[in-house]
Assembly symmetry: C2
Homo-oligomer: 569 residues x 2
């Protein structure tokens, strides 16, 4: 309290210009998200808060931002840090530079492997990051009863963490069929978080079923993939988090809804984004720039990226460049390019020394890949005849199609058909709970030889392997067991590329720069198999996600998501 009073005294002095401010961004323009105006103004900062705009200020530290535009720091409204394959602290160092000063993460991936220990790892890390990392507590671990996870989270587990200062609310409630069926365990979690932010996840849900889902207090959705879907959701008070990830790319379809009118009810999110895309395209800066390119008014885009996201999640201290608001700022070359030249987070300009001084967070989830070694025979595809249903991948989408397939069939076994582009997909349980292996077929990879395996496999993160050749499938899977998980490409009887992800089989121990470097040959190796997809590993990783329509595969079998049951043929 005494500190708080002393701080306010300094803030008033510095805001009135009676004393030099701690930090001044001098000579730039600010983009005012209330009026939409670009205004010449210094920005004076005391401690972690802006104390002066619309005036000339002197500062203990002054940064010349002449010719630049100052906007509020960006808020990524929904993401899984694990999808960047790096630790939360590496994520911080990687993404803050793109202007992201607040990230609302759901540690759903690590929670499916480790449970409470995974959530605690993120909450601990969030106390150390330079950006404000907020944690939505993972609501659906496992997401369904149709798969084998490494852990379960019940309502009491979530409540044990709910008072942590970095815990925000309840993360995406993917089990919407469970809500619609009034499953008591689902309703108990929802009941426990009434009045706090509850994220939704309701791809293609509409009509009265959407109403039923919203009635439990769900307030956001990041799964809308068309403007018409988003408009129904908006009209029903469901705030839309427009997503542009590495696999799920909805921005082009949703840009028409990013209007000034809708802007208070729209935010942006990356959901799942890998370090290569972050390096090559950017992060939230990429979404803003692309939204504007696609015709979104800059005011709507920058509101969505800051003040609107803040209000949607009740983070009422941030989102404007104005006195009294949190000093989270991005300095841009101009609004259209959204080229970030400097970032201020809670009043600090963060550099290597700061990053190096952050508290160390010990890795968790080592040796988490507990599958038994496999052989080619484990990937035999038994069936009644040549006719089956295959998963049709859609480039850049996590939604899949349900394709009828007529496959080579002999001795009760179906085989791959490379001409028709049907190869095998299998999921190998890896949490030490059982030795499940399920096998089916997938269309759309263009794979001509070899196999790709991944211990990243949403959401239970069993091992998913796609292959034209059963022996290579086994080699790739066995290699993952050896290296504690990650990605592996096998061809001609040997592993040709790999990336180890020893933290829960999901995240690397390396720096983001090293991971980025490792991904390039890995992607090249996958493409050398004939794979035509831009993001082969992430598309593999989403084949096992049975909360996304229409046909998916888990360690327990092929899942008809629309009927929420296994396909038996």
């Amino acid at each position: 309290m005494r500190d708080a009073i002393a701080y306010l005294k300094r803030a008033v002095e510095q805001g009135r210009g009676l004393a030099r401010a701690d930090l001044v961004l001098k000579g730039g323009r600010i983009f005012d998200l209330v009026t939409g105006e670009l205004t010449r103004s210094d920005v004076a900062i005391a401690g972690d808060r802006i104390v002066g705009t619309h005036g000339d200020y002197r500062g203990a530290v002054e940064i010349d931002v002449a010719g630049k535009v100052v906007v509020p720091g960006f808020i990524d409204a929904h993401l899984h840090v694990e999808s960047s394959l790096i630790t939360p602290l590496e994520f911080d160092r990687c993404v803050l530079a793109h202007g992201v000063t607040t990230a609302i993460c759901d540690p759903h991936e690590i929670a499916n492997v480790l449970g409470v220990a995974g959530l605690s790892y993120f909450l601990d890390a969030a106390m150390a990051t330079a950006m404000d990392l907020r944690v939505q507590l993972s609501s659906c671990v496992p997401a369904t009863h149709l798969e084998t996870s490494g852990a379960r989270l019940e309502v009491d587990d979530l409540l044990s963490l709910a008072r942590h200062p970095k815990a925000l609310g309840l993360a995406e409630f993917m089990n919407f069929p469970g809500v619609l069926a009034r499953d008591p365990a689902c309703l108990a979690k929802l009941a426990a978080f009434q009045g706090r932010p509850i994220d939704g996840h309701a791809p293609l849900l509409g009509g009265l079923d959407l109403n039923g889902y919203l009635s439990v207090g769900v307030r956001t959705d990041h799964e809308a993939t068309s403007a018409s879907e988003a408009l129904e959701k908006l009209a029903k008070g469901m705030q839309i988090l427009v997503r542009e990830g590495s696999v799920s790319k909805d921005l082009r379809a949703l840009a028409p809804i990013v209007t000034e009118r809708h802007s208070p009810f729209i935010a942006f999110c990356t959901d799942d984004r890998n370090p290569l895309d972050i390096a090559e395209e950017g992060h939230l800066d990429f979404i803003i720039r692309t939204a504007i390119e696609l015709g979104a008014p800059p005011l709507a885009a920058y509101r969505a990226a800051s003040i609107s996201a803040a209000r949607i999640f009740g983070l009422n201290d941030r989102g404007l460049v104005a006195p009294g608001w949190r000093a989270d700022l991005a300095v841009l070359d101009d609004l259209e390019s959204c080229a970030v030249s400097r970032v201020v987070t809670a009043g600090r300009i963060v550099g290597d020394a700061f990053y190096a001084a952050r508290a160390l967070i010990a890795p968790v989830g080592r040796h988490s890949v507990k599958a038994r070694r496999v052989s080619a025979g484990d990937f035999a595809a038994r069936g009644q005849g040549p006719s089956t249903q295959a998963i049709g991948v859609v480039p850049g989408k996590i939604i899949t199609e349900r394709l009828p397939a007529i496959l080579p069939f002999a001795k009760g076994l179906r085989g791959v058909d490379l001409d028709q582009d049907f190869v095998k997909v299998a999921v190998v349980a890896r949490h030490g709970v059982n030795d499940n292996i399920a096998v089916a077929f997938v269309h759309g990879f263009g794979m001509k030889r070899g196999a790709i395996a991944s211990s990243v496999g949403h959401d239970c993160h069993n091992i998913t392997v796609v292959g034209a050749d059963e022996a290579d499938m086994a080699i790739a899977v066995n290699r993952l067991i050896e290296i504690e998980g990650g990605f592996a490409v096998a061809e001609g009887g040997r592993t040709v590329a790999e990336l180890a992800l020893p933290i829960a089989g999901l995240m690397s121990l390396m720096s983001f720069e090293e991971v980025r470097k490792a991904l390039i040959p890995l992607r090249a190796a996958a493409k050398s198999l004939g794979v035509a997809l831009a993001e082969p590993f992430l598309q593999v990783a989403f084949l096992s996600l049975p909360v996304i329509p229409h046909l998916k595969i888990t360690d327990m079998g092929l899942v008809d998501v629309d009927r929420f049951e296994f396909v038996r043929d």
Copy 2:
């Protein structure tokens, strides 16, 4: 928890249309504040929450609203219930019918008389009202050191109430000079409420001083009286509560800022509104209707009246007609007239039986008018010569002017000058702390005879009396002492009209209908003295408010508000 789960189960069933909803508004249109569209839709309600829109629903109770428009219930973002002269429960009954389902009140008036007991009275009442009455804890009691109040509230007093479920944050921080001067007691209160809603009060404050004031976390202002003032505040992130009260009427000046662009950062408030105006014009419905008449787009006006106010104050469960949102609804004939035909509050249609069944809240602050009896001689105006400064009232404003006056002067005493429209104004201390009486002159009443006295006198609520005749001034004041406070009009040596306000000298024990009836002859009596002001009693009541420019009077003397010191001449 078990109840909450059972409720969510019902909500999903009713939202999906699997069971009849508790209540359905059938056949109307809803005004969607996200998209701006008017859409044909039933509204289904389960318990206190909307569970269905954009569909046809069956209900246990169905209300035909064909031809009507359903909008979110209105939120009055800032008001003093005491100014309506009725108890909080009577206010509830009076104002809910105008569509106001949430009112954010500051019990500043009763707090100046009774301190913590006054705040507790409001918090208790808020637990009983049909509307959601939220209480901002009064921050500046007394507002200044230039007056004698009945109580003081220190930071620990406020903290003792801060966890009450109806306590929202810190009420209008009127002592902005104290903030700018870094007064430790002011900063302590502000420090204690960081992160919660803190209302501002900064008439005419701009430039670096406004920055300093905002740096302490103040987020709203309801004192802007011109568009240019409001625009500077908006551009500095200060959310504007557009006020239209009985005395302070800012809507005409501020309507140009009520645009769709600004609408997320704008709310409406009445601040101080008397029962006659509520009956004759309306309440928030009047503000909405008038804003639209003045050119505000309906979307901007209805947003300001609901979702924007909700977000500004962190009331994130309300403000849209959408599934999962609080069932606070107003049913209108049409958007332009804002004629409210029905109101739903927390899912209930409230009638006489409900009002009668509310918990009784015992009156507080009886016998609070503790002044000694006065005589004509107490109102002698001593001075050095004929030349002085007089308070110039501005009709419909609480800001006053500082007027030079040359008055009749004899034997060291200044006298009234009816031709020039200078009459006397005096403030008589009434809290039993001292016997202060201050006397000065006021211009603009048009009073030709008699006197008007009021124990409502912002903010310390001493007795303020305006008179053309010292004997009548004494009669009016003495009558107020007898009737435990209120309003009195004296003429020709006797009291000709009165209204008793025995709750803290501020509120009546009568119903709002009776108070309304009593105000008509009272106003007529005031006007019969020659008074030309539309609201003579409220204008009297604000003469003593030394936080509003430019010249005011307290029991301690004439105050130059701009210099924040007494005038000695």
